[in-house]
Symmetry: C2
Subunit: 418 residues, 2 copies
């Protein structure tokens, strides 16, 4: 630890977002900033979209003072709990709720984004020019923005909009379980710009990290080829290599693996929902666990192919096959996740998935069906539908053009040869 | 297909074994030999350990002729069904049950071994010198022989004992489901001796195959370094490259992937049982699907490490992370398999796994506990217990020295650093 003494400044962390998952990550991060006080300021700012909240009468927090609606930030800061989005989980006192996003990010060198994806644009608009230029982001937002123009990762859009480097965190995690300190793992993708590494990367860094000389120039190619501006982290700060980033997230109940593949980490969390629908279809037919496992295996391999085809060489197979963000997240989603359950019910009951959504989700749509349609639009445009037989099968079944029973034939690699 | 016309002989297949899984594989193989009559003789011999069998009164096969015990081979050959081990599944008429193992293997160039592992030694003893010297084997026997001397794969012991090359078949398969033609996948490892490949390997061969010049010398190093004798396949026969081996097993309901990594394919099917016990422990604690998925992920990575450490460079990570024999088989075992279920019950009910075995399995032992002990003995002897923290944790919990709650700490890669 001796060499760290040369750094006169410590990293200041802000969690941008305070829902169920945002508050959980703030708790995780705040436990670590307190423990690793040589690298991080203990205080963690958490931006809260301000609202009035009424503590329910049966809550242990209900009393004279809370008998009327109060500001959520005041409640969080006095109760050290987020009573609306993460009730009954005590938060470390160094989590500070702040309703002013610009004030919350002031001087923060590490911005952890954890808010619903539809708010990314507006929030980044507010933050633009208000953050330190050498800040680094980590996006915990699952999903993918697929449009006519292509696929965009949320980490990438955040990085673009703010002119900073932005990594990603994704894994087999359910916020409430992590908050309750039930064991799970996650994956953090962070490919630190070489200019941050004033010190050699310590031994034991998983997977190594790229050293891309273009980053020294102050900008680097984004994953989809766009240029991303980056400003070097001043040498007053401890370097943000994998070991230090890991210290911010790793807990005894929340094991973190660091990788460099931001696209792979982000894609796993989005594409798994299509695979979970396929697994649900097959399970709904009563074909047993092996058929389901086969569909899952094929699904992982299509995720890998999608990543490599559209996000280039930085995407690594092992991100999908060996990391929590890939195989483990898929396993969880195909065990009890919504997409899996609804697809299974649809087949078992001979109903359309739309009917099941209506009944089980009050008409809300499944994420998996949305992603299946978006990804199919994209694949069609690229002329690559045939190269993703499972993704395409799910779309065709949703469209009523194929049946779940057709899946083995549709994904049979021998199909073309016979 | 034109080039195949030069081969005056066809491959003759014998399935050595006729239990639940053996009969199922005979069905699969016989469907294919009939379909690919340019490469294979249609008739598939199936060696049956002869016994007297009485058709039950409520069977559709019960009649005057079957009202008394009859020879199992006669029943199979007249009913075209194995009434004892695979009832109600019609077998193709080209499956011929044979009680004489030496007669069954006569002139067979492909021997598919599918019998309980305790009979391997005795059966090979009978077959020695009675098979054609250029025969090739495929072992469908899951498990691993771990002893003081080391770990031995069943495919390897068969190959050694008979002086032939022997590959392996393993995947997420339950015999009855495959027999019912419910969809599943499997993996066949076959690293064809270069001398078999009179023809260039056709395009599309998965993962390629090794070309080891030592094989041309008539012998090659076994996986654990032993020399294995091999005799070249006469050029009258179609070559046994991946494409032709695949044709013997691939069905519309049974998708086959061909690889070269025999050790990896065999290990996955054995080591998964230890991982399933760990997953059961964690699930029994009520920690949720993410904790279970994390343990499974760590388990796969320990399987890879075990393979590479003790079976050398031929072992490939992707055999475990991308193939049915690895990740898919593990997923299935951790869904509803015996090892998983019993371990989960033990923790949830606060009982020892021995008590659960007594109650649920009539005192039979779980395969996973046996494998956990055997693997631990081996790791201890090699001084490598610490490098396999999950395998070691399972053993310590079985021994009562650790608790399931300790698993996250025991497998925390940061444990040593703090």
């Amino acid at each position: 630890m001796g060499s760290l003494a040369v750094h006169s400044k410590k990293h200041k962390v802000c969690v941008v977002g305070s829902g169920n998952w945002g508050t959980t990550i703030a708790k995780v991060v705040a436990e670590n900033t307190k423990e690793h006080s040589d690298i991080f300021e203990a205080e963690v700012q958490m931006w809260v979209f301000e609202e009035e909240y009424q503590i329910p009468k049966d809550s242990k927090h209900y009393n004279d003072e809370t008998s009327h609606p109060r500001k959520l930030t005041d409640l969080i800061n006095s109760l050290h709990e987020n009573p609306k989005y993460l009730p009954n989980i005590p938060l470390p006192k160094n989590v500070v709720a702040n309703p002013d996003v610009v004030d919350a990010v002031k001087d923060a060198t590490i911005l952890v984004f954890n808010l619903p994806h539809q708010f990314i644009g507006k929030t980044c608009e507010q933050l633009k020019g208000k953050i330190v230029p050498y800040a680094r982001g980590i996006s915990c937002i699952k999903g993918l923005a697929v449009s006519d123009k292509g696929c965009e990762l949320f980490s990438e859009s955040i990085g673009q909009k703010l002119g900073i480097y932005c990594g990603a965190l994704s894994g087999a995690n359910i916020a409430t379980e992590v908050a309750q300190e039930k064991f799970s793992e996650t994956t953090v993708a962070y490919d630190p710009p070489a200019m941050d590494s004033q010190h050699p990367t310590p031994q034991g860094t998983p997977h190594g990290s790229h050293t891309d000389l273009t980053k020294l120039e102050g900008e680097a190619k984004g994953l989809t080829g766009k240029k991303m501006k980056r400003t070097a982290l001043p040498s007053e700060y401890p370097p943000l290599h994998h070991k230090n980033v890991k210290m911010l997230f790793h807990r005894p109940y929340f094991h973190v693996s660091l990788v460099s593949d931001v696209a792979g980490v982000s894609l796993g969390g989005a594409l798994k929902n299509i695979v979970a629908i396929a697994a649900g279809f097959v399970d709904g037919l009563g074909w047993g666990d092996n058929a389901k496992a086969a569909v899952m295996r094929v699904g992982i391999m299509e995720e890998v192919k999608f990543g490599k085809m559209f996000f280039g060489d930085s995407v690594q197979t092992r991100t999908f096959t060996e990391e929590s963000c890939g195989v483990a997240d898929l396993i969880t989603s195909c065990s009890g996740g919504r997409n899996f359950r609804c697809a299974k019910m649809a087949v078992a009951e001979g109903k359309s998935i739309g009917e099941i959504e209506q009944r089980e989700l009050n008409g809300q749509s499944l994420q998996g069906t949305g992603t299946a349609y978006e990804v199919n639009d994209f694949l069609k445009k690229e002329g690559k539908e045939q190269e993703f037989p499972l993704f395409t099968a799910v779309h065709s079944i949703l469209e009523g053009k194929k049946k779940p029973e057709d899946i083995p034939h549709l994904i049979d690699p021998n199909r073309g040869e016979e």
